[in-house]
């Protein structure tokens, strides 16, 4: 590792290597729990699709696939900047790294804006079955409501995770202002990156599951 990049030892550890591995492993194990969390929703979506193939297909055609696709591209690009930020952190170059992280978070915000616009379009199309005051627009099989509801559960849960991710990335780049940050906490950038990539990964599964496969 270059000068100025390193890890400040916490008291329970005996070596920097141990501390670094512990941090990464801890994050991975935590991400496993997140994976199981989302998988529960995916398995529900699959069961729904098996029980009511017709209704699910009919409802899925009303999802705005171009927004979903565009959002996937936005997240992939944000992941690109996050990877770059990790590479820069390893080289000890604080300011370009912070810039990359701001761009990453900015793309995350763009994703949320697009998602919000999509929700607005759904609302305009009367695709909000849980609002009692607004009649549901997609007539036919009741199972279509179910699919739309599940779409909101999955995408909103993902949005919550993304919001946490944006907060995390912004906090990290803010902390990195402090002189010598990378010489003490270099591994924190990589761990933040793991979380960000994972959110990207979940969306990469969400997009085909909801938008594409059911068409």
């Amino acid at each position: 590792m270059p000068d100025g990049v390193g890890i400040e030892l916490a008291e329970q550890f005996s070596s920097a290597r141990q501390q670094k591995e512990t941090g990464e492993l801890g994050m991975w194990v935590f991400l496993l729990t997140e994976l199981m969390l989302f998988s529960t929703l995916f398995v529900s979506a699959l069961i729904l699709r098996m029980l009511h193939p017709g209704a699910v297909t009919a409802a899925a055609l009303h999802l705005k696939m171009w927004i979903g696709g565009l959002n996937t591209a936005v997240l992939i690009t944000s992941s690109f900047f996050m990877s770059l930020a990790i590479e820069l952190s390893r080289a000890g170059r604080t300011s370009p790294m912070r810039l990359c992280m701001v761009v990453t978070a900015g793309l995350g915000v763009l994703f949320l804006c697009l998602k919000g616009y999509e929700y607005y379009r759904d609302y305009a199309e009367h695709m909000t079955p849980f609002f009692a005051w607004r009649p549901y627009g997609l007539l036919g099989d009741p199972a279509s409501r179910l699919f739309v509801d599940l779409y909101y559960v999955i995408t909103s849960l993902h949005a919550v995770h993304l919001t946490i991710g944006i907060g995390l990335v912004m906090t990290m780049q803010h902390l990195a202002r402090a002189p010598g940050f990378l010489s003490r906490h270099a591994n924190r950038i990589a761990i933040t990156g793991l979380y960000w990539h994972f959110i990207d990964l979940i969306w990469i599964i969400v997009y085909p599951t909801l938008y594409v496969l059911n068409r």
Binding site: L25, L37, I47, L150, V153
Partner: protein
């Protein structure tokens, strides 16, 4: 004895003045509530789960009281239903799941592998705060409002038809899940990266192996419960319809997701008990454990196969025949690793140097109860037999043998065994043996009649029942009284011993393991310097210890 001293010299016990221990390292309330010391967090858990155990036990006592008469005239049906839900929810999520892992695991795991602390000490404390927050909230919900769905929250009863406080109860269960997850993440990383030099995987005590397997289950299963409960919450609050047959949903899907968590979580309750057993049996047989690797691998096998068998709770709710057959076969398979352990402990006792102290009495009782619980589980896994005993008192008796018989007895055995280490005081041996005996008798008197009741066809969760079942129910309730007395004994004399007990030496049992090489109670950072492990686990010389 001399061998161990030669290999790794125990740090000198300070004899001048009071030695610095984790207990007297700051004595303010603040120093306890903001501690990141794994030992103090273990003690905090011990105090909190004891409290919740008492609450759950009072509910159980009231249930047994109501069942003395067949016509349900002691408690109303509504209060009865709310009581057994309270008993189930409190006991499962706020006592059994955190009992051994969070108390003994927190206290011992880092010491046993020679670490200063767990990998993420602050997360460890956060986990306790989440647990307490959820537990206090849940207790308020279950007492002030009450929930009448049973701890299983089956849909659509919980989503549409129940008029009780299901939503806040579900939120409490969701939140306590995060506490389990944090503990699991912490233990897994601790075992992986915090082991002392020389502490290879196959030098770890079997208790550590079982805690590791337990953590894997917590980490992999809990999120599924969280999500199932979130869906249940949305369903009840907004009517999204995933589990509502009227909206095209499937109520059986909830059962799949629920049991994907709730079956493996049975192993969260019993695996740590098995870990404690391996420690007790070897220490009090004063002999090396028989088949160390088989026991270690069987813990991992139980954790893995435990995920393949959840469907045996669902044989008769319309799952397909193929599904039923495969789940049944896999359930038989999970019995194999459990059987290995029992046979291996029996073989460990052979040619040992057996001391029937209180922990060993608990261990012997544990093996008997666990075997009964395990083999009745095979009856339930057999499809044709389950058609008769499913959802009857046979099931109730079976899982109490596993969850109370195996977990609570192991917990108490472990508490007695490590009590000198935790508090630095010895408990009164005579009263320990008396209460262990009472516990065994009371337990069997309570739950053995329930096997008969179940086979006779008394369904579970029944508030009234046909009069010919009354005799066995009274017998069971009488047993519960004995059991309650047996619980009060240790509570009283252990508290007594904190003040009046005799001071404990570092290694009162002459046992092996890193935790016995440090003073009792341990110093704040466990080890003066990082221990180097160059000995095998349980390296008992197998001869009479010199007094």
């Amino acid at each position: 004895m001399s061998e161990l001293v030669l290999r790794d010299a125990p740090p000198p016990v300070a004899t001048i003045g009071r030695p610095e221990t984790y207990l007297n390292d700051g004595q303010t309330i603040r120093s306890w509530l903001f501690t990141t010391d794994h030992k103090r967090i273990g003690v905090l858990y011990l105090i909190s789960i004891t409290f919740f155990f008492i609450i759950g036990a009072i509910a159980a006592g009231l249930i047994r009281l109501a069942l003395v008469v067949p016509d349900g005239s002691i408690l109303t049906n509504d209060i009865y239903n709310k009581l057994f839900t309270l008993h189930g929810v409190i006991m499962v999520w706020f006592f059994l799941v955190p009992s051994i892992p969070n108390v003994l695991g927190n206290f011992l795991l880092p010491i046993m592998i020679g670490a200063k602390d767990v990998a993420f000490p602050r997360l460890n404390l956060l986990s306790w705060y989440i647990f307490m927050g959820a537990a206090v909230f849940e207790l308020f919900v279950l007492i002030a409002g009450g929930v009448d769905t049973g701890w299983t929250f089956y849909t659509p009863l919980s989503t549409i038809y129940s008029n009780s406080w299901v939503i806040p109860a579900v939120l409490g269960v969701i939140v306590v899940g995060f506490s389990s997850i944090l503990t699991g993440v912490n233990f897994i990383t601790t075992v992986h990266t915090m082991r002392a030099p020389g502490m290879t995987w196959f030098r770890m005590p079997l208790f550590v192996w079982s805690m590791y397997a337990t953590s894997l289950i917590l980490v992999l299963a809990t999120p599924v419960l969280t999500m199932a409960m979130v869906l249940l919450f949305y369903e009840r609050a907004f009517g999204i319809g995933v589990f509502d047959p009227g909206a095209g949903g499937d109520p059986v899907m909830f059962q799949h997701l629920f049991w994907f968590y709730s079956h493996p979580v049975v192993y969260v309750m019993v695996l740590p008990g098995m870990g404690v057993m391996s420690e007790l049996v070897t220490a009090f047989a004063y002999k090396r454990v028989f088949g160390y690797t088989f026991i270690a691998y069987s813990s991992m096998a139980i954790a893995a196969i435990g995920f393949f068998v959840w469907g045996h709770h669902m044989f008769f709710n319309g799952i397909s025949e193929y599904s039923g057959m495969s789940f049944s076969l896999l359930s038989f398979a999970v019995a194999v690793p459990s059987a290995i352990k029992v046979y291996n402990w029996a073989a460990t006792i052979h040619k040992g140097e057996i001391r029937l102290a209180t922990p060993m009495l608990y261990a012997m009782g544990w093996i008997a109860l666990f075997v009964v619980g395990g083999i009745t589980g095979l009856f339930l896994a057999s499809l044709g037999i389950d058609a008769h005993v499913h959802d009857t008192y046979f099931v109730v008796a079976h899982f109490h043998y596993i969850m109370v018989g195996a977990t609570v007895l192991a917990f108490l055995g472990g508490i007695h065994y490590w009590w000198p280490k935790i508090t630095g005081k010895m408990y009164p041996e005579f009263w320990g043996r008396v209460s262990a005996l009472f516990m065994f008798v009371g337990f069997n008197m309570t739950f053995a009649p329930q096997f008969v009741l179940g086979y006779l066809g008394m369904p579970r969760r029944y508030h009234t029942y046909p009069p010919q079942f009354q005799f066995l129910n009274i017998l069971s309730s009488a047993g519960a009284t004995v059991l309650a007395a047996a619980y009060l004994f240790p509570l009283a004399y252990l508290l007594w011993s904190i003040r009046y007990g005799r001071d404990a030496p570092p290694n009162p049992w002459d046992a092996r393991g890193l935790e016995w090489t440090i003073p009792s109670p341990p110093p704040p950072h466990n080890f003066e310097e990082v221990p180097v492990v160059d000995f095998e686990p349980y390296d008992y010389p197998n001869r009479i210890p010199e007094a």
